[in-house]
C-alpha cells in the first residue's frame, strides 16, 4: 500500500495546477461543511442553554393534565404542589409556575394569552421576576416580553385590562400595569404570555398553593415519581429545539451537498480525463508487470488523495478562519426570530473533534468512491490497445 501511496502522490503532484484546483474546491467543501455544521451546533447549544437558563432549568415536573400544545387542558392542569416538591421550593432548588388562560385587551383589541404566575423572589431561572414585587396602586404588576409588547403595542407603564376564569370557571378581570418589558431570546416565555406574581395569580384564581409546572434548579438530580405529576427531563424538554435545528440543518445541508457535488464532479472529470490522457502510460505500466486491479488501485488512490490534500489545505486556511468565527461569532439579523427558538444576537459556532473527523471521513469516502468509478474502465482495457493509445 505504501508503494501505491508513493506512486499515486508522485503522479498527483506532478499533475500540477489541475490537482491543486480540485484540492482547493474540495477544501472549500470541507470548510463549509464544518462551518455550517458548527454553526448549527452552536445555534442548538445556545438555544438550549438560553432555554435552560430562562425556562426549563434542570428539568420540570408537569401536572398530569398539562399539555403545552393543547390550551384546553389548562383548565384542569393545576393542582396543589406535592410535599417533596414543596420541600425543594423551600430549599430554593425549584420554583413553581401556575399557568391559566386569559385575554388581554390592549387599545381596544383582544389577545388570547397565557397568564403565568412566578415567584418574584425565585433565583432558579434567569427571569426578571423581581419586577413583579412592585406594589404601587391597585393594578397588578406584570412583565411581558419584547415580542409580546410589540405585538400588543404595549410599553413599560402602560395599563391594560386582563381577563381570566377562576377555579370555579367564573370570569374576572383586572387592570395590569406593565412594569418591565424583557428582551429575551427565548420566545417560549415571551410571545402570547403575561407574567404576574405567583401569589397574586393564586389569589385571583382561588388556586391557593397550586401550580402547573415545577421547574427544578440546574444540577438538581431529583427525579422521583410523584403521583399526579410527571417528570420531564432535559432531553424531552429540548426535543423541540433539536427538531427545529435538525430541520434547519437539512436545509443548510443542501448548500454543502451542492458544493461537495461540484468538487466530486471536478474529481470525476479529472479521473476520466486522466485515464484518457494517460492510457499509454497505463499500457506501459501493465507491460512492466502491473495487473489491472493494481492499476485501478493506483488511479483510485490518486483520486482519493485529493481528499487528503484538501484536508491539509483546508486545515491551513480553515483552522484560523473557523477559530476566528468561533471566537467572534456570527451576527444574526432580527429576522432570525422567525426560526422559532432562542437565538442570540450572535451565534458562536461549535466545532467538535467528532465533527471534524466525521467530515473528513465523509469527504474522503465520497472522494474515493467518485475516484473509483471512472477507473473501472481500466478493467476492460487491453494492454496492447492502451500501448497504442486506444481506450476500449
Amino acid at each position: 500500500m505504501r508503494l501505491y501511496l508513493k506512486l499515486a502522490l508522485r503522479n498527483l503532484l506532478a499533475a500540477g495546477v489541475r490537482t491543486w484546483l480540485n484540492v482547493v474546491v474540495l477544501s472549500f467543501a470541507f470548510v463549509t461543511i464544518i462551518w455550517s455544521q458548527g454553526l448549527y451546533r452552536g445555534m442548538s447549544r445556545q438555544a438550549a442553554e438560553a432555554m435552560k437558563e430562562a425556562e426549563i432549568g434542570g428539568g420540570q415536573y408537569w401536572h398530569q393534565s398539562y399539555d403545552p400544545y393543547n390550551p384546553l387542558t389548562l383548565d384542569e392542569a393545576h393542582g396543589p404542589v406535592p410535599e417533596p416538591l414543596a420541600k425543594l421550593i423551600q430549599e430554593e432548588k425549584a420554583t413553581a409556575i401556575l399557568i391559566i388562560q386569559g385575554t388581554l385587551y390592549p387599545h381596544g383589541r383582544f389577545f388570547p394569552v397565557l397568564i403565568k404566575g412566578i415567584d418574584p423572589r425565585q433565583k432558579i431561572l434567569l427571569f426578571p421576576s423581581m419586577y413583579l414585587e412592585a406594589t404601587e396602586g391597585d393594578e397588578i404588576p406584570a412583565v411581558i416580553g419584547s415580542r409580546m409588547a410589540k405585538a400588543c403595542g404595549l410599553k413599560i407603564g402602560d395599563t391594560v385590562t386582563l381577563r381570566w376564569r377562576d377555579k370555579q370557571g367564573a370570569f374576572d378581570a383586572r387592570n395590569i400595569k406593565i412594569v418591565h418589558v424583557m428582551a429575551t431570546t427565548v420566545q417560549s416565555i415571551d410571545q402570547g404570555q403575561v407574567w404576574v406574581s405567583l401569589d397574586v395569580l393564586r389569589k385571583l384564581t382561588g388556586m391557593e398553593n397550586e401550580a402547573t409546572v415545577i421547574t427544578l434548579a440546574p444540577g438538581t438530580t431529583f427525579a422521583e415519581e410523584i403521583s399526579g405529576w410527571s417528570y420531564k427531563g432535559l432531553d424531552f424538554l429540548l426535543r423541540d429545539i433539536d427538531e427545529v435545528v435538525r430541520g434547519k440543518n437539512i436545509g443548510a445541508s443542501v448548500i454543502y451537498v451542492v458544493l461537495l457535488c461540484l468538487a466530486m464532479l471536478a474529481i470525476f472529470d479529472t479521473q476520466v480525463l486522466s485515464i484518457w490522457r494517460r492510457r499509454k502510460e497505463i499500457g506501459t505500466i501493465m507491460a512492466l508487470g502491473m495487473t489491472r486491479p493494481q492499476v485501478i488501485k493506483l488511479f483510485t488512490l490518486e483520486g482519493a488523495l485529493h481528499g487528503i490534500l484538501a484536508a491539509g489545505v483546508a486545515a491551513i486556511y480553515g483552522f484560523p478562519l473557523l477559530s476566528f468565527m468561533a471566537r467572534k461569532g456570527l451576527g444574526m439579523p432580527q429576522a432570525v426570530d422567525s426560526y422559532g427558538f432562542a437565538l442570540g444576537e450572535r451565534i458562536f459556532p461549535v466545532y467538535s473533534a467528532g465533527l471534524i473527523t466525521g467530515t473528513a471521513i465523509l469527504v474522503m469516502l465520497v472522494t474515493t468512491i467518485v475516484s473509483f468509478l471512472p477507473t473501472r474502465r481500466i478493467a476492460r482495457l487491453k494492454p496492447t490497445e492502451a500501448l497504442r493509445g486506444k481506450l476500449t
Binding site: 508503494l3 507491460a287 512492466l288 508487470g289 489491472r292 500501448l387
Partner: protein
Amino acid sequence: MENEILIETRDLVKIYPMGRQELVALNKVNLIFKRGEFAGLVGPSGSGKTTLLNIIGSLDTPTSGSAVVLGQKVEELSHREAARLRNQHIGFIFQTFNLLPFYTAFENVEFPLILLKIPADERRRRAMEALDWVGLADRANSRPAQLSGGECQRVAIARAVVKRPAIILADEPTANLDAENSHHILQIMEELNRELKTTFIFATHDEKVIGYLRRKITLVDGRVAKDETLDLERRVEAASEERRPGVLK
C-alpha cells in the same frame, strides 16, 4: 544453458475481428527462441511482427495454437499470472519509448524494481548501474521531457534490463531515432546481450537494426516466410537487402 529454449510457438494464429470481416495477423507461426539470441522479426507493416511480440510478451493471447514462454503457456495464463511473467522475466522497449512522463530517468528505471518489491537500497544500486550501462548516470534526475530521443530510448533500455529479464522484446526501437543514436543504442543492446545472455527479439524493418541481428525471421502476411541465421557478412547483406524496395513484398 545457451541452447535452453525460452520461447516456442506452435501453430500460432491470431485473428482480429474487423467488423464483419476478420484480419489474420498471424497464421500458423512456428518458432523457437533460445537463451541469448539476438533475433529480429522483419517484415512490412501489418505482417504480424508486433502481434507476435505482444503474444510472446503475454500482453495478448493467441486465437489458436500455443505460445510457451519460459515454460508457461501464454494462452492459459490469467491476467495476474501474465503480469507476473512480464514483471519478472520480460523487458519491453517501445518505439515511442513509453517512459512515465512524471518520473525522472532514475525513477523510470527504478519502477520495475518497485513492482518486484526489491528493497530501496538495492533498487537504487541497480537502477544507477543500469543507467550507467547506457551512459546516462549523470542524467538520472532528468525527466523525459528534458532528454533527447536517443537518451529517452537509452533510459527505456535501462528500464528493460534493470531487472535482468530473460527476454527483452523491442518493438521498432530505432524508429524515432537518428542514425547515430540508433547505432549507439543497438551497440548497447548487443553488449548487454553478450554480457547478460538476455534474449533480444526485435520487431523492425530498419536496416540499421538488421545489421546487428544474428537471426532474421521474415514475416509476410502473418506467416514465417524466411528464418535465417546471419553471420557478419550475411548481416551486412541482409541490411542492404532490406534497403532494396520490393524484396519482402
